[in-house]
Amino acid sequence: MAELCDLTAHELAGRLRSGEATTADVVDSALGRVTAVDERLHAFLVVTEDLARRQAGRVDELRARGEPLPPTAGIPLALKDVLCTRGIRTTAGSKILEPYVPPYDCTPWGRLDRGGAVLVGKTNCDEFAMGSSNENSAYGPVRNPWDPERVPGGSSGGSAAAVAAGEAVWALGTDTGGSVRQPASLCGVVGLKPTYGRISRFGLIAFASSLDHVGTLTRDVRDAATLLSAIAGNDPLDATSLPGPAADYAEGLDAGLAGLRIGVVEDWLSMEGVQPGVRDSFHAAVDMLAGMGASVDRAELPHADYALSAYYLIAPAECSSNLARFDGVRYGFRAPGASDVVEMNMRSRGRGFGDEVKRRIMLGTYSLSAGYYDAYYGQAQKVRTLVIRDYEKAFERFDLLVSPTSPTTAFKLGEKTENPLAMYLSDVFTIPSDLSGTPAISIPCGLAADDGLPVGFQFMGRLEDERTVLRAAFALEQELGFTARPPLVPAAAG
């Protein structure tokens, strides 16, 4: 029988309600799993054991008193280390923030904390969320629970690995170019990136402000809907936050696929570098959709080919400005021994940032420079507009678009570190939804025939239409019945 920490949040909620288990039991189970596996996985940068136990005790007390509790109460949660937590060190995977303890909470965690969520810890990630393999963390890479020789994906690799391995029941990540969906795909869990502005970015350490989304990593689609409902809704502290309160996204999940028009972005599958095992698993799932009452046809996103290039101009440009604040003056790492402020800035940044971050700061600085702006940043924004129009046009014919989440399954550590462009291609199917701000989800659609590793299936929806995305993902998930667990999980292995 599976341990408590291997259950979904909605299964646990049932046991907690009925008294079969206490929050303390659940938290013990998750912390036990961390002790058992994290030395190998390195999914966590900080484990907040004492806080978790205190919070568990408080939730059990409230429950004993018969207080009404939200479905997130008492469920062990992990937070990607780019999400600020008051009093808990938050590093963004960077040396430059090694000593940084935020004086405030990010809005999503603040809302969950008030609802009795239990924080297990802060998860490892690529430095400032820049990467697709977690190898850019200043604190060492995360390993994939399905095969410790392989990467978990990135940049929310720690959150994805923790959820896959049972160290947390669910987690928050961030998705700027696919950083929630791609690691979900590589770790065999569910990764949801909602509409831009659906979840407040207040307290999310910015990488590229116009592309950054908070997203969820969960064991199934119902949990994704529940977690989204708990953290969505307008936040007056984020001027780009969508208006209106959070909806209950779990409502209507089981409405099925009947009548939905689904477009397959076939062009993407014939791209160089798409792994045959990924293609086969994807096509098998598409066939299922047709059998479940959806109409399936071929869709076109003609400018998506340029999306990757546009992304690698826009994201670094914004990053070069967002990361300027890390200068050693007010907080974070300050290099010693400088004789003036400019030298102090340069040394602190030179030693505090890793190679990929520096590469992107340089790219971005260049593309915003006088004389280059129009050719690079300005042109990229035009391409972004074309990508948005592509989606608008496609959504006139279709309710949803589908594709694999990433061209490959989890690759080996070190396999792509020498070739940034090959690494960037890992996000080629996820980047367009970040450019357009539209919601998308990755769910596991089986293990690839060629390497036995999980394959992610991506649904992409209209702006603000998370419901249709979740409803279709839920239907396919039920039909697929994917129950495989990574071998590193003791219960599954035993």
Binding site: S209, A239, E318, S320, S321, A324, R325, V329, R330
Partner: protein, 462 residues
Amino acid sequence: MADEFETVIGLECHVELATATKMFCGCANEFGAPPNTNVCPVCLGHPGTLPVPNQRAIEYAIQIGLALGCKIAPHSLFHRKNYFYPDMPKNFQISQYDQPLCVNGHLDVQVDGQTTRVGITRVHLEEDTGKTTHAGATGRIAEADYALEDYNRAGVPLVEVVSEPDMRSAEEARAYLTELRAILEALGVSDVRMEEGSLRCDANVSVRPVGSADLGTKVEIKNLNSIRSLYRAVRFEEERQRTALESGERLVQETRHWDENRGITSPLRSKEFAFDYRYFPEPDLSPLEPDPEWIEQLRAALPELPAERRRRLAQEHGLEPRQVAQVGASREWADFFERTVALGSDPKAAANWIIGDLAGLLNEHHVALAHSKVGPQHLADVVRLFASGHISSAGAKSALAVAFESGDPIEKIVEDRGLRQVSDTSALDAVIEDAIAENPGPVEQFRKGKEAAINALVGHVM
């Protein structure tokens, strides 16, 4: 020789808005608080924080634009201006770039009765930086041991008003800044205290041969902390440039620092770095698209502006142009004048007393009108008692001087000091008859021709 050149001046003024809170966070916006007490994660640029625009600051900026006859853009953008400086917490300033909030306005200024229309290029919103204090023996940046940062000012809402290069003399530049300050004061959107930095001004100055359509090499002058500094700095700079050109030197485009004590400008070393600010649209903020109805409401609610008020002072109160210029120079003085008139004073007489004796006393004692113990009631009483002949001109002046010191009511001063002129002759007759009756000796001597004897009688009457 000097007649062959003309001076061309454009001004860039920064106005700190008197909002309750900062531009993008909820911290108090106040001058003079202990260092780093009005700060929060947002204005300290902590990771993950986001700006939320201050609605009142946008309102104030629109009011300024409307008062300067600008067009309010239906769509404007915030941009990031990127450069590293320790007093700027994010190392970028949220400002406006190619799509400002207000454009194409004008400001009419008067010099010696001549009106010049100065174009307003733009009025835009941005955030202020913190304040750096260089510590060390000399206080000079290059020799400082360390620097102290106070972020209380970081994020204070700032409006920049940029003029066209339409001014041709230091007098016009002075009149422009005086008028702009009066407009801001009338709107109530800023403290407009140049000494506290809530109104700051940079001057772009060049000279060119008269009749030339091209602009000469421009110099930007910084550190102008008063209207007087602006005037002196422009006078110095136009002379410096003229002399240089006349002696065949080539001028360089540069930023120069005004040294108030030495009365000269000198090049600023910081221009060794040519900044590329890498402006791009601020992704954390949506475009500003003010509701046209709201703009019309703001337009309708604009207070009486200085130019209008001066017209009214002339028409309603019949003041001379010279009186209008002085009484109408600021809201404070015009308010004082009108309150005095409301208490029944003759307007012309009140104006003369205000710009004559009262201004003289304020100047002499270096007191601002706001802190003066003499109020409109004092002035109205002086005007009334003098007009009715109850006090002499000398008596009025001395009553005002006493009130300036003590703040006592004029009537009381007049009584206490016996300043009242007795003009009732029947009462006077009785006193004189008494004096004659009680001083038979001196009366006799006077009758015999000893004129000095009258003094004893006069003394008695007094």
